[in-house]
């Protein structure tokens, strides 16, 4: 590569770019051209320089650097061998990926299928997927626990969920836009109008502060005990992240995954396929403390800026006996503007925070609410649409 004529060089760069693309890096023609240009401006004899030049032009994120390094090492050693080796490893990887989503895909399929036992058969005209609901059935659907729903009710619920919008309490930003009733005076616009009147200021142009909803960060538990709710909530989260700006979604079981990018696919089914590729552990055990610790260390500073609201969706049943849970909840609570805990177990009358996990978490949340049926989702949306009250610890429940 080092002694190659420019024509060969461009071919090689293009070849290398193809490899990176196949390894899943977003490398397009723009990156390839920039890389080729960069190589003309350095000493091609120096391998380290060439590598740095290619990395600077072809890698846009720290997370991609490792893949780049591997590809580069192989490619440099022997372009043809590298092609084979890399193609092989990539094939392996692809096979792995194709193998991996099987359980997740099955889960998705299961979510659409009727659960085995607990679906209570409604006596009067079961709601059909395309039927217009009677008021009575609609009401029942609102109050029905997600866990008890059959496939048809789930389909209906999902349709309902798609229609729920999330108007989070807007906060004033420092931006302004024109508004005749605004509180602030826009001097620039005032002067421009006054010039049309010969420099006489007859009216004041006014402006007001633009309001926009704060960022939303959702951390959702998908371990065994939560699997059913997580499936439904995923629909809700998909609808929300397609309707709003600045939504970040994380799933955790034993590990934590950021699925924000995957949920951006407009088509829900495609989005869930993508999520299935990313998330390794649907319905394993739960390690809430560990997941939160990872979130705090790796993500908190990246996604909790600008007054974010956090929705934490979990039942608080922790496999690790709540190790490190209190500290990490406390840290999370103090790094966001509002921490709302959604717990499906709250649907039981007389829910007592007995488990260690729940007791460790309760003192550190701003809101504690049920999330097990459509009505509770609606209540949640109501709550989020109101301006946040001043923070108080919810000690009454924990004491």
């Amino acid at each position: 590569m080092s002694a190659a004529p420019p024509g060969r060089l461009v071919d090689n760069v293009a070849e290398f770019a193809r490899l990176l693309r196949r390894a899943g890096l977003p490398v397009g023609p723009a990156e390839t051209l920039a890389a080729a240009e960069a190589l003309t401006r350095i000493d091609l004899g120096a391998k380290a320089e060439a590598k740095a030049a290619l990395a600077a032009t072809m890698v846009h994120r720290r997370e991609h650097r490792e893949i780049f390094d591997q590809a580069f090492a192989l490619f440099w050693r022997d372009a043809t061998a590298a092609r084979h080796a890399l193609a092989m490893t990539l094939m392996e990887k692809r096979k792995e990926i194709e193998r991996k989503p099987a359980p997740a895909a099955r889960r998705v399929a299961e979510a659409f299928a009727r659960p085995r036992d607990q679906a209570p058969e409604p006596k009067d005209e079961p709601p059909r997927f395309d039927a217009v609901l009677t008021a009575n059935a609609a009401e029942r659907l609102q109050a029905m626990d997600f866990e008890a729903m059959g496939a048809e009710e789930i389909a209906l619920a999902k349709r309902e969920i798609r229609r729920l919008v999330l108007p989070l309490d807007a906060r004033r930003t420092r931006r302004r836009h024109a508004d005749p009733l605004g509180a602030e005076i826009d001097l620039r616009a005032t002067l421009r109008t006054s010039l049309r009147q010969g420099g006489e200021i007859l009216s004041l142009a006014r402006a007001r502060r633009v309001e926009r909803p704060p960022p939303l960060v959702v951390i959702c538990d998908i371990s065994g005990s939560m699997a059913r709710y997580a499936q439904i909530l995923l629909h809700f989260l998909h609808a929300v992240s397609n309707a709003r700006e600045r939504v970040q979604v994380f799933l955790f079981g034993t590990r934590l995954s950021n699925i924000t990018r995957q949920l951006r696919y407009r088509d829900a089914e495609v989005a869930f396929q993508m999520v299935a590729h990313v998330v390794p552990d649907w319905s394993g055990g739960t390690r809430i403390g560990e997941a939160l610790a990872i979130f705090n260390r790796r993500w908190a500073r990246r996604v909790l800026g600008q007054g974010a609201i956090v929705l934490l969706v979990t039942d608080g049943l922790d496999r690790d006996g709540a190790i490190g849970l209190a500290e990490n909840m406390d840290r999370l609570h103090r790094s966001c503007r509002r921490l709302i805990w959604l717990n499906p177990l709250l649907r039981w009358e007389g829910f007592q925070p007995k488990s260690q996990g729940v007791r460790a978490m309760l003192p550190h949340v701003d809101e504690f609410r049920p999330v097990h049926n459509l009505a509770s989702l609606r209540a949640l949306i109501d709550l989020l649409s109101r301006p946040a009250p001043a923070r108080e610890r919810i000690m009454a429940l924990a004491s």
Partner: protein
């Protein structure tokens, strides 16, 4: 402009910046290709410093735009001086001037335009600049969109006045602490470099340049200690800035070598979170000191 990577490295070194080869290559390419440099990394790894040293080395002024949430055109690019404009209108009236067009032209003249960093950096009537856009992650998306436009053609259009275009695009350095993911569109336009914590050898070199009054043995121990600390599970790892501060602090306290007591007393210079401090203070600190001393002695 430096000719090649070695010249870039030398230029940074003259300004007291110890760069590794990767960074020097990326900086050299950014200058040679006329692309913005996008530096991402933890706080305290010397991202802003690069822009400062670059401006100094190229003999250009440094124009710094500190970003924050809600940063708008008035603070970032330009603003009209309304008070003086009103005054000008009053004066024109007093002197019996009634020609509206003439008045409009006169109050939207250049002398009423207040420059903010972005306009100042591309203004051809001012000496050449290096533009530093600091902590872009703190700005919001509308500002990013505006910035994209600016980076594409290096011109700013003021509706009442006209278009101001850079005669030659200035070098641009963008930094981010990752408090928010900066949009891909910006990344694609730039040359990207992740600024990592330096390894022990480079950190010793940085310390020797930035805090020359610290004796060699202490400096070696300080660096060995901090390097070990970065391997711990902490909420906020100490940056290079903290290393320099800490070495200076120990020097001020007349320490010639690390002792567990001295570390415990000065831990607040290195670690900025109570959880981290209570985790390291005491036995853990003593263990790290012992290890750091061994490492420094083995050199």
């Amino acid at each position: 402009m430096p000719r090649d990577v070695a010249a870039t490295m030398a230029l940074l070194a003259r300004g007291g910046y110890v760069a590794d080869a990767d960074l020097a290559t990326t900086v050299h390419l950014a200058l040679a290709m006329g692309r913005p440099l996008f530096l991402e990394g933890e706080p305290g790894t010397g991202k802003t410093e690069i822009a400062k040293v670059l401006a100094e080395g190229l003999g250009r002024r440094l124009v710094r735009l500190q970003c924050y949430d809600g940063l708008d055109l008035q603070a970032a690019a330009y603003e009209w001086d309304h008070a003086r404009q009103l005054m000008a209108i009053r004066l024109a009236e007093a002197s019996g001037e009634t020609d509206r067009d003439l008045l409009a032209r006169s109050i939207y003249g250049r002398e009423f335009l207040r420059e903010r960093p972005l306009l100042s950096a591309i203004d051809p009537s001012l000496p050449p600049a290096v533009l530093l856009i600091d902590e872009l992650d703190r700005a919001d998306e509308p500002f990013e969109a505006f910035l994209l436009e600016l980076l594409a053609d290096f011109q700013i259009t003021v509706p009442e006045y006209g278009t101001i275009r850079a005669s030659s695009p200035p070098p641009v350095v963008i930094t981010s602490n990752r408090t928010r993911e900066v949009h891909d569109a910006i990344r694609r336009r730039c040359l990207y470099h992740w600024v990592d914590y330096p390894d022990a050898a480079r950190e010793r070199e940085i310390l020797a340049r930035k805090a020359p009054e610290v004796p060699g043995l202490l400096a070696a121990q300080v660096v060995a200690f901090v390097q070990r600390l970065r391997g711990e599970e902490l909420f906020k790892l100490p940056g290079v800035a903290e290393t320099i501060d800490w070495a200076s602090a120990l020097r001020t306290l007349d320490q010639h070598a690390l002792t567990p007591d001295a570390v415990d007393e000065t831990l607040g210079v290195l670690l900025k979170y109570q959880d981290d401090i209570s985790k390291i203070r005491g036995a853990e600190a003593a263990r790290l000191v012992a290890e750091a001393k061994d490492t420094a002695a083995a050199r």
